[in-house]
């Protein structure tokens, strides 16, 4: 045993291994920073070189890439409000809020340090755990997995706070949108309205970008100014971030532990872990008022979890050949190309390689986070640039990212459609995370529920694991409620003035009214569309419709009972920008992506950002060069339109 550990350690520090691992780290950082590419694009860049390489060296390269992707994507999440990949969605909420408060450097440095520590803890846990992981992974049956998705969904209640019904309605809509496509139980197609694009359901990247990134871009354009609304001191912020992690070391350790354990459960991994840990950070905080407005704990918790999760995800990948995440799926392909079959063999005959993999992860984490920490300060100064200058670049970036999801025009249109929803939600203050959580967990909740019932019948819900997770859900939902009730009562008894806090009237605005109408309409249309679904295939979307409709009606009833406080919710300018966005999509489809992008950047930078002509031209050409270069290196394609084939082949 010891000799295997030592030989893997020796292998780790050979020159060729270190060199290729560094190469993997660099590639991983580049594709991690560019939103929408993530691990899959990075892997496809490296895979062609893999066949015929020495396995230990090749594994080092792959692990370098896998390890730093959840690190690199933090840049886009924090600075631009773009969820780079599914692992960094929760980071957007407080990370971007901090950037707007002029604390981007702080958010970044603490995110990277938390990532590094999380990754190291994950690797340390994995070193021992991988030997005994088999029985534990096997003890998670479909019913436990279903309960875990429920635990994830219960975070909706935690995150929506006072506007519980709006949060539930958002979640219901998310569940409904997540149910578009094939029913896992029967293979029926649901709610595709005859559109080929909807047969696979909406891609997560497109929904994430539409719900978070596009509304933020439009909001910043309407407000003018830079991303950072308050003056910022990058150097001080950078050091503050490091101090924050030191102060929150308990949170880092707990989230890393949760991340590495959840990562080991096949089929769930990345999609719940950031929300679970974010929800946990909110729950465990004494002062919750700053979450969503820029609380550093909202950055530290998911970031320390997601790198640990990437480590944990190696367990099902290596031991069972069942990848725990999208990146792990590609990594699995890499293993097969190297002639390694995942399975018990990875422990019995290739244990040295397994340890090389685990420790490469740890080493790459250190390297990647260190590089990011160095970069954090200069890159954070982006938030001081007038936003109108950045806007066209970011818009192109998210459209580029969205289009890589399935490479069809539908991606861009879906981005716009989800963007409309995002703008409405943002302006009316409905919970966008609740929508995303519903969307992400819909397939898992449905699939695992059906499997649990089919495999285990009613016994499914009497299993000890199920009961334990059920207790956790109960605790997550009710303990804070009881606690706040308790403290309020004590306050009321001693001060007698806390009553007004509880009976705050609901707020209502024009967008709320529009949303109620639109959501109830959606519910009706979806209900009609589901008329000829079989019982099993239709149960989940019907449940989603029920949640959506009932929560909307409850909120309406609440408004009717307590006189709502009328709120002005401006939407005119936002609507104009959205219309512009759709015109841009139209131009892309008509003229071709690259041509339209070049023209758009040029015109925007000249007329709206009012840059000097030569600066605008250089920036527009830079974007063109980026797109053409990406197409060459990663064999990507764009909507070709009428002009692109002439100009760019």
């Amino acid at each position: 045993m010891l000799d295997i550990l030592l030989s893997s350690l020796g292998q780790l520090f050979t020159l060729s291994h270190l060199l290729f691992m560094t190469l993997g780290v660099l590639v991983g950082l580049v594709v991690g920073i560019i939103p929408g590419l993530g691990g899959i694009a990075g892997m496809s860049l490296l895979l062609p070189f893999l066949y015929g390489m020495e396995p230990t060296v090749a594994l080092g390269m792959l692990m370098g890439l896998v390890a730093v992707i959840p690190t690199g994507d933090t840049f886009a999440s924090v600075l631009l409000g773009i969820p780079g990949s599914s692992a960094s969605q929760a980071t957007v909420i407080d990370g971007f809020a901090l950037a707007k408060r002029g604390q981007a450097a702080r958010a970044l440095s603490s995110a990277f340090l938390a990532s590094m520590i999380g990754g190291l803890l994950g690797a340390a846990v994995l070193t021992g755990f991988i030997l005994i992981a088999r029985p534990l992974v096997l003890s998670f049956s479909s019913s436990e997995l279903f309960m875990l998705t429920l635990l994830g969904l219960s975070m909706v209640a935690v995150l929506s706070g006072r506007d519980l019904f709006k949060g539930l309605a958002a979640c219901g809509l998310g569940l409904l949108v997540g149910a578009i496509g094939m029913a896992p139980a029967t293979g029926e197609f649901r709610m595709n309205f005859g559109l080929d694009y909807l047969y696979d359901g909406l891609p997560l990247v497109v929904v994430g970008l539409g719900i978070f990134a596009l509304p933020e871009i439009i909001d910043l354009l309407v407000k003018r100014g830079a991303i950072a609304e308050e003056p910022c001191n990058l150097g001080e912020g950078w050091r503050q971030g490091i101090r924050d992690v030191r102060e929150q070391r308990g949170l880092v350790a707990r989230c890393a532990a949760v991340g590495s354990l959840i990562g080991t459960i096949p089929g769930l991994a990345g999609s719940v872990v950031d929300w679970l840990t974010y929800g946990y950070a909110v729950q465990s905080a004494k002062d919750k008022s700053q979450f969503g407005k820029g609380d550093i704990r909202g950055v530290i918790a998911p970031e320390s979890a997601n790198n640990a999760c990437a480590c944990g995800a190696m367990v099902p990948t290596l031991l069972f050949g069942v990848p725990g995440s999208g990146t792990a799926a590609v990594f699995l392909g890499g293993l097969l190309l190297l002639g390694l079959q995942p399975g018990v063999g990875m422990i019995e005959t290739h244990l040295d390689l397994t340890y090389t993999i685990i420790w490469s992860l740890a080493l790459a984490n250190i390297l990647g986070a260190a590089l990011c920490l160095v970069l954090a300060r200069p890159v954070a100064s982006l938030t001081r640039v007038p936003f109108a200058t950045l806007a066209p670049l970011i818009t192109v970036l998210i459209m580029f990212a969205a289009f890589q999801a399935t490479r069809s025009a539908g991606d861009l249109l879906a981005l716009g459609a989800v963007g409309i929803l995002g703008v409405l939600f943002k302006q009316a203050n409905w919970s966008r995370p609740a929508f995303l959580i519903g969307f992400v967990l819909a397939p898992g909740a449905e699939g695992y529920f059906y499997q649990a019932v089919q495999f285990q019948g009613t016994d499914a819900f009497m299993r000890p694991g199920v009961l334990i997770i059920g207790a956790l859900i109960f605790a997550a939902l009710f303990i804070p409620m009881l606690r706040s009730l308790w403290s309020k009562r004590r306050q009321a008894a001693s001060v007698g003035a806390a009553a007004k806090v509880r009976n705050e009237p609901p707020t209502l605005g024009i967008i709320d009214v529009v949303l109620f109408a639109a959501l109830l309409g959606t519910a009706a249309v979806a209900w009609i569309d589901m008329a000829d679904l079989s019982l099993i295939g239709g149960i989940m979307p019907r449940l989603a419709v029920a949640i959506l409709a009932v929560s909307c009606l409850m909120e309406i009833a609440r408004c009717l009972m307590h006189r709502p406080q009328w709120q002005r919710q401006p939407i005119g300018l936002q609507g104009l920008w959205l219309a512009g966005f759709f015109i841009l999509i139209g131009a892309m489809l008509l003229l071709g992506f690259i041509t339209a992008v070049t023209l758009f950047c040029l015109v925007f930078l000249l007329t709206i950002a009012r840059l000097k002509p030569w600066v605008a031209a250089v920036m527009a050409l830079g974007v063109t060069a980026f797109l053409v270069g990406m197409a060459k290196f990663l064999t990507l394609t764009y909507p070709s339109g009428l002009i692109d084939p002439w100009l760019f082949g």
Partner: protein
Amino acid sequence: MVINKTANSSLSLGRLRKAALIALAITGLSLTTSVQAQDVEVPGNIKWTIPFGVGGGTDVWARFFSPWLSKSLSGEPTIMIDNVPGGGSINGANLFALRAKSDGSEWLGTSASTQYPAMLDDPRVRYDYSDWTPILATPTGGVVYAQPRLGETADTALDALLEQPVKLAAQTPTGVELPVLIALDMLGADVQAVFGMRSRGEGRLAFERGEADIDFQTTSAYLSNVEPLVEAGKAVPLFSLGMLNDDGKIVRDPTFPELPTFNEVYQARHGEAPSGKEYEAFRKFFASGYALQKLIMVPKDTPQDLIETYRQAARDFVNTDAFKKAAAAQLGPYTPVIGDTVQRHLDDAMSIDDATRSWLANWLQSKHGAKL
């Protein structure tokens, strides 16, 4: 051309004509020599569309093959793999059918999940296998195995299988498990398929957790992940699907020579060889999903010489020891099938008569509650 230019710069018309003639002769000569050397011009760049995501089974398969194919073609063309995932490979295949040039510079890699929807008349399918010509096919086998609680030996487990309902974790009603489901039904087993697995690996996990009573894996996954279970007494192999010989007959799988095929088990249990529409359906879906699981296709109008060149290139390396050694880990112990044999088996497999298809639709509806 160079000669032409120098001739131009110097004087007389006669010399010019002469030089032009010489130039013509030289180009002509070089042309004929090149034809003799390599028969046809192989494109310098070949775009190989893989309608699956990066790192998936078919992607890895293509990445394994591309250096071998490139090296054995003259001029070592660059083979560029273009992943177009979506719709379970339907999107990529549709795009290929719509856009691919037939000058030999575009290939398509298909798999069972590309073949099946075409055979089942899926409304999303806008491609037709008769528009394409196969270069090479790689087969795979598969084994059905059971929990030891059903019986310690294959025979007792099979007996138990026929007496009580059993559960099997599958992906979709029309996924790669389809021939297995048909086979088990023909034997008389009452199989409750639990759908919704995202891969065969997840199905195996359900088996290992004890949730599924029986399971099925293709050869490479069986060798690496199920054989250890069999050795530990946690799984009992029942039968293999077999392998197609050159005459299109199902014979024992060379990887599992000691394991009976489904046909043998059926014969032993029913006293006659399997037949009827259900066997017809089994045989065709087995052929297109297993015996020809993954295919390299080119558009039908690709020049015949070029098609032959590609096929010959494949023949040149598949029997070398180096390839066999490398392929053992990737493809299992099967030799790729090349050229006309593939065409014959493919034509047979892809042509399903309406009676068989309507039997299948009824069967899927009544047994698994799935609509075609």
